[in-house]
Subunit: 221 residues, 2 copies
Amino acid sequence: MEQAGHVDSEEIRGPILKMGGEVESALSYLGNLLEKFDQNKFDQIHQIEHQVNLLHVQIDEQCVEFIAKYSPKATDLRYVFCISKMNSDLERVADQIINISYFVKEWHEKGSQGSKEKLKKMLIVTSQMLGQSLDSFIRKDTQQAGQVLSMDDQVDGLKKQFITDAIIEMQKQPSLITSYMDLITIARNLERIGDHATNIAENVIYVQTGADVRHKGVKEL
Amino acid sequence: MEQAGHVDSEEIRGPILKMGGEVESALSYLGNLLEKFDQNKFDQIHQIEHQVNLLHVQIDEQCVEFIAKYSPKATDLRYVFCISKMNSDLERVADQIINISYFVKEWHEKGSQGSKEKLKKMLIVTSQMLGQSLDSFIRKDTQQAGQVLSMDDQVDGLKKQFITDAIIEMQKQPSLITSYMDLITIARNLERIGDHATNIAENVIYVQTGADVRHKGVKEL
């Protein structure tokens, strides 16, 4: 039986892992939605976000209560801060997913014009990043967390290439501008999901090694 | 003399207030840069971001040390969590400012085409939001924090209107697409700065009243 008050106990880890699972499901539904609009999937995503918001409020409160109750020290205390930060990141990923769902809906309503292939690739990589960042948290695996950081460059590259291509297409066919603007917004929101997964992975490395891997180089735009 | 270990002491509040001041300065330089490109101002913004990154690492560590040393309870403990979250928000505001500085530079290099008037207005409102959110933290003033939340709607409205107008201009003159894409990216980054100021204000309200004002309605896109 796990020790009460330990950071590995279900008391503190359970809700954040549930939240992570919910966000992963919503992201997977988004992939279906990008392929073909489906009102049920759209509604399910919004129901998940509602659940995530409830967990967000609950987890922040739990972190404060956990510290007040058990006075964890050193690595354990950093772990609780890590959970509090993951909580913010996951809630914002859910917000991004909601934003994307509206733009995907609009894009389909306008006739699904413009190429979405790079976005599908971006969605796959960001889903992997999110999954691996959560796994690295569960396993306290800094190597896996490190892999997430390198995948972020791939997502940024895909977004830049997508926007460059989109600008060329918009210049050739101005009638496609509104459709491409929707797709560009989706690309930017996917990139932000990748950024949040990166934040989670960086926090995992920080808790486990004490090394702060943030701010090691020039920011990628 | 202030009590050591109290959350109102300089020990815990000093660095985050310094960070807030640095970010406000960078945002004000950005206003100058949007008006007319100036390499010195551009460099100053980047130097400030470097300072902000150092403070970011330092403040996270200080929050953990403060709790381990003084074991604050209830509102005081929430206040330390609030500082940790402000720390993340302010660091991301600095990131947005850096992103914007590059796009402002590019936009000037391309000939400063397209109307920037709404962006100037957005910059003024987001600067006010950031200033007021920091003030509300210092004064523990929930009414002022509430004003920040209502200003966020104004920023979102300005951004939407800017993008709608930009799409019309791009359709009329496809040669302006690349310039407008820079301006749209600037608008989106300014909106994100407003979001971070909103997060800070929401945290101030939460610490002072225990009321969680997040997730009270449908998200604004």
